[in-house]
């Protein structure tokens, strides 16, 4: 049970934008100030609700990117071209703007150090966001738990948190990339869709009983989850978060 989760009915809180920071051409991180934020666990998400002047509302869920315990909450949002909410958050939102937020929610797709490791994190595109909260938490806590992230992105320019992942790679944390559409000159990494062979090469073996978290578009998550089961990982140790067609 999520320790940070507040028991009792959730209500919508007001979030104020502090800063909007580009990550890639289509992705931005939004730093928010949320008064009375109760804290959260890595992997949890929030529901964001926007209301227009005439009362029209739209709502979407976004995974929390920041590790627990920071001063501000961070959401990383990918701009979906014909989206309702994401273009507002990535293109329109300015520091000082406010919207409503409900959360943190989600006790299922959560990892905390007390669960132990090793961790095997598999992400498609913006599916890396909740897994980044886990890696940032691990980095901050220094728990010595082994973690592997396999991140599938379209190209090197599309890799979210690219520099930070380079910094995290090493020691107990290992980051592997596959770039499915285009690769930079001299690229020596993977350049195909995630498949059982790649998972077997990158991740801890099933015999180590890792905690596996898979996040990304629904077809990606389903293909990866099936592949992991094929490799012998226990279904009960695999947790999935499907982002649906919009990626969040």
């Amino acid at each position: 049970m999520a320790r940070a989760a507040v028991l009792g009915r959730l209500t919508w809180k007001v979030a104020e934008a502090v800063e909007v920071v580009p990550e890639t051409a289509r992705v931005k991180t939004i730093r928010l100030d949320v008064p009375d934020w109760p804290g959260h666990l890595p992997g949890q998400h929030v529901d964001v609700r926007l209301t227009a002047e005439d009362g029209y509302q739209a709502q979407r869920s976004y995974s929390i990117a920041s590790a627990p315990g920071g001063d501000s909450l961070e959401l990383t949002v990918e701009r979906i071209d014909d989206g309702e909410v994401s273009p507002y958050l990535t293109d329109e939102l300015r520091p000082g703007d406010r919207f409503e937020l409900r959360g943190p929610v989600g006790g299922y797709f959560v990892w905390e150090p007390s669960r132990g490791g090793p961790l095997f994190l598999v992400a498609g595109g913006s599916g890396v966001v909740p897994l980044m909260a886990m890696l940032r938490h691990l980095d901050g806590e220094g728990d010595g738990i082994a973690a592997t992230l396999l991140l599938s992105s379209r190209s090197w320019e599309d890799v979210i948190y690219r520099d930070e992942l380079e910094r995290l790679n090493g020691g107990e944390t290992r980051v592997a990339h596959t770039l499915t559409r285009s690769q930079p000159d001299g690229w020596k990494g993977y350049s195909r869709r995630v498949d059982p062979a790649m998972l077997a090469e990158v991740g801890p073996p099933a015999a180590e009983r890792p905690h596996v978290y898979v996040c990304g578009p629904t077809p990606f998550v389903e293909a990866v989850a099936s592949a992991l089961v094929e490799l012998g990982h226990e279904p009960s140790r695999i947790r999935t978060e499907r982002f649906g067609p919009t990626g969040g």
Partner: protein, 201 residues
């Protein structure tokens, strides 16, 4: 607490002529796909459409028999209870009047039943008189499975949850038995112009 207005947020909707947009609705150019479950895929050789329940005799059409019935093209506005409306949508379908032609019944309602288990109930009066079709084409193309293909009910004067996707038949009944959504909060009738979205509206 009334919701906080987010500066500059409009959403992706456009204005529509007020006499065509029911209260609380917003016009969209998309055709959103809403679903309560996985998309069924029934081979056409196995598909049939039936009229069952309180009628003189059961009727059933295979896909070929159904498609041999006279169809017509209609252009209608559709209104989803989730607040989007789409104007001037073009469909092709068999009028429900044609399916019910010659049927003798005392029933006042029909439960539309579908692949995947979805149901919705409507007064027979709202399925007849040129108000409803079993549609097999949208925008000049065979109806896409995600939009209810091979055939769906089309009842544009009511909220679109009544236009049951993947319809396989109508069960005629004297009882207004609540269907999938009507049994869990949604209005039994669903007139968009009276904004009958939920129980008690």
């Amino acid at each position: 607490m009334s919701p906080i207005i987010s500066r500059g947020f409009r959403g992706r909707r456009r204005e529509g002529p007020p006499d065509r947009v029911p209260p609380g609705q917003y016009v969209t150019d998309d055709f959103p796909v809403l679903s309560a479950g996985p998309t069924p895929h029934v081979p056409l050789e196995e598909w049939d459409l039936s009229l069952v329940g309180e009628i003189d005799e059961l009727r059933r059409w295979s896909w070929d028999e159904f498609r041999a019935l006279p169809g017509e093209e209609v252009t209608v506005d559709i209104h989803c209870v989730t607040k989007w409306s789409k104007l001037d949508t073009v469909w092709e379908g068999v009028p429900v009047d044609a399916l019910l032609a010659g049927v003798e019944t005392e029933a006042e309602y029909a439960v539309a039943f579908c692949d995947g288990g979805y149901t919705t109930t409507l007064p027979l009066e709202d399925l007849t008189g040129g108000k409803a079709w079993v549609a097999y084409a949208y925008d000049g193309e065979p109806l896409d499975p995600e939009h209810g293909g091979p055939a769906r009910l089309l009842v544009p004067h009511l909220y679109f949850w009544k236009s049951a996707k993947w319809v396989r038949g109508l069960q005629l009944t004297s009882v207004d038995e609540p269907g999938f959504w009507e049994s869990n909060g949604y209005h039994l009738y669903g007139d968009p112009w009276r904004e009958q979205r939920y129980w008690g509206d």
